[in-house]
């Protein structure tokens, strides 16, 4: 009898009440934590919407397409800032995506020895650690004066295009685009690198085993398999670019005079908010709220749109 009892080392047992309370408690705690995110998002939306009602009532949708911003006459239109937000973030993305994804491919494929790759990889992460105000300072004093001759020559060759038709004189949209591209590069690179690393090696081997060289393997197998992660990274980067304030405000020129040209000083919604909230009152506050609402909606639309693309592109493995 003794021997048999010693053989049974585990007994079937019921969970105690306290154990079950703990389980339920944890479940509810997680639920609560997750709900806070949603509640926060909605309450911010509601507060901003309430703040902007006055301006929405007064200017309506013409707010989106007029570029007057005149506190003296109480005339507000955010087209300059909306255009600035869109052009800076989209062009910055166009520059940073090929660079970032290319860097990620270079880091993950065994093109160069592993130790060089890991050094490169660390340097990309370090780029993300530079505070945006430092980047802004660098942009004003070093990057912009350095780039100006190039921008001037682009203007003299391609000045007939509306987006290049003003002479670069200093702060403007173009330097802001470049500084944004630098800022979002590490996000795109590190997220792309992680999702490329997650592509199972057996897919890579399968492609090589049927005589694929590196190029078709990367572009037909590896990248499509990683595309949802990469697109997620690009999205995050776009969100960052649209919302980035400090560095942009320092270099974009903060002008509310509309110009199609990226060499002229301009404005983004984020930069405008940062610059004007301090001394705004009445209708101006409401108009700034309206602009903030537009920024939020823009980001939301971009997100939803990108999710749809990701779903369609995604390869399951």
């Amino acid at each position: 009898m003794n021997r048999r009892e010693s053989e049974i080392r585990y007994k079937l047992r019921k969970r105690t009440a306290s154990e079950r309370t703990l389980d339920n408690g944890f479940k509810n705690f997680s639920l609560g934590m997750a709900s806070i995110v949603a509640i926060l998002l909605f309450s911010i939306l509601i507060v901003i919407f309430r703040g902007s009602i006055e301006s929405i009532a007064k200017y309506g949708l013409s707010f989106l397409i007029t570029s007057d911003w005149n506190p003296v006459d109480d005339a507000y239109g955010a087209f300059t800032a909306i255009y600035g937000t869109l052009i800076t973030s989209i062009v910055a993305l166009l520059i940073a995506v090929p660079l970032g994804v290319g860097t990620a491919i270079f880091i993950t494929e065994n093109i160069i020895p592993k130790n060089i790759r890991s050094i490169l990889s660390v340097m990309v992460e370090l780029l993300a650690a530079i505070p945006s105000v430092v980047l802004g300072l660098w942009a004003i004093f070093i990057m912009e004066p350095f780039l100006r001759p190039f921008l001037i020559s682009i203007n003299s060759f391609l000045g007939w295009l509306p987006i290049f038709n003003t002479t670069p004189v200093g702060p403007g949209v173009a330097p802001a685009i470049i500084i944004l591209a630098i800022m979002i590069l590490p996000i795109i690179t590190s997220i792309s690198r992680d999702s490329l690393n997650q592509v199972p090696n057996k897919l890579r081997e399968g492609a090589y085993a049927i005589g694929a060289s590196r190029w078709p393997t990367i572009f037909n197998i590896i990248l499509p398999a990683a595309i949802s992660g990469i697109a997620g990274g690009v999205l995050l980067a776009l969100g960052r670019a649209m919302g980035e304030t400090m560095a942009v405000t320092m270099i974009i020129g903060n002008s509310n005079n509309f110009s199609w040209s990226i060499f002229a000083p301009g404005n983004t919604i984020a930069a405008m908010l940062a610059n004007q909230f301090g001394e705004a009152d009445g209708n101006q506050v409401s108009s700034l709220m309206y602009a903030a609402l537009i920024l939020m909606i823009l980001t939301l639309v971009v997100n939803v749109f990108a999710q749809l693309i990701v779903k369609r592109l995604r390869l399951k493995y």
């Binding site: 081997e205 492609a207 049927i210 005589g211 060289s213 499509p224 399951k316």
Partner: protein, 269 residues
């Protein structure tokens, strides 16, 4: 070239390994392999885990090139050409010497595209539909798959996926097909189907298969190579070597080495 007398039974080998030693990060994994594999036959590599069978197999189509720190000494001859000569393009090697892996690894594309992709990148100019149908038929998958050509290759069952990988390999018309434990992830019925496929395939291809399943080696192969491993002196790893290589019937009925005898009778490994 007559290192051991049993190699003389092969007149013109398709692939021959001459004193091949493969190392990972300077510590050898398999050493001094001499082996000549006949054209149009199935050669099986058997042996306990960690004895380097897969490593040797992967060296034949230069798959080991993809592994950091893997190096090879000796010569791997394919139709008399040294595959590791500097002027040889590994991409061309892999087109002529195809490979099927242990884990089925169809591309996350449609069944059709799984086969068409390899053909397209290798410059196939013929009728793609015809090639897809023919390859799937050769891999005994056409009947199960002909209505699913647009579905993802990953939606097939494990055995079907593996046959899809075989179909995709034969679509590019290699001369040799390497199979690295192709049935180890499959159930007995799928295994049987793949073995039947192999019987048909060996009429037109040279096949080299790594297997842990000795009955499988007996069923499918004409030649068998038995590998074993010994504890490395001073190191923690194992060092593999080729014990015996002969016709399958001889290996399983009258092996000349005691280690082979022990292994095939299950007293070992």
């Amino acid at each position: 070239m007559n290192h051991t007398k049993n190699n003389s039974i092969i007149n013109s080998p398709c692939i021959s390994l001459e004193n091949v030693t493969i190392s990972y990060k300077n510590s050898p994994a398999v050493r001094n392999i001499y082996c000549e594999m006949p054209r149009g036959k199935v050669t099986a590599f058997i042996g306990p885990s960690g004895c380097g069978k897969s490593t040797v197999l992967r060296s034949i189509n230069r798959m080991n090139d993809l592994i950091d720190g893997c190096s090879l000494t000796g010569r791997v001859l394919f139709e008399g050409v040294d595959l590791y000569a500097p002027e040889v393009d590994p991409v061309e090697v892999r087109r002529r010497i195809g490979m099927v892996f242990q884990q089925p690894n169809p591309f996350p594309k449609s069944v059709y595209e799984n086969i068409a992709f390899g053909a397209r990148i290798n410059g196939y100019t013929g009728d793609m539909d015809e090639l897809v149908e023919m390859s799937l038929k050769k891999a005994a998958l056409w009947d199960e798959c002909k209505d699913k050509l647009k579905e993802s290759g990953c939606s097939l069952s494990g055995g079907q996926q593996q046959r899809l990988c075989i179909a995709r390999t034969i679509a590019i018309e290699p001369e040799v097909i390497l199979m690295d434990e192709p049935c180890s992830a499959l159930d007995p019925i799928s295994t049987l189907k793949i073995e039947e496929t192999m019987h048909d395939l060996k009429k037109s291809y040279t096949i080299i298969i790594v297997t842990h399943n000795m009955q499988q080696a007996v069923r499918v192969s004409d030649m068998t190579a038995f590998y074993n491993a010994e504890k490395q002196s001073g190191g923690s790893g194992k060092l593999g070597y080729l014990v015996e290589y002969n016709e399958t019937s001889k290996i399983f009925n009258s092996p000349s080495q005691k280690a082979t005898q022990d292994y095939i009778s299950g007293r070992f490994g």
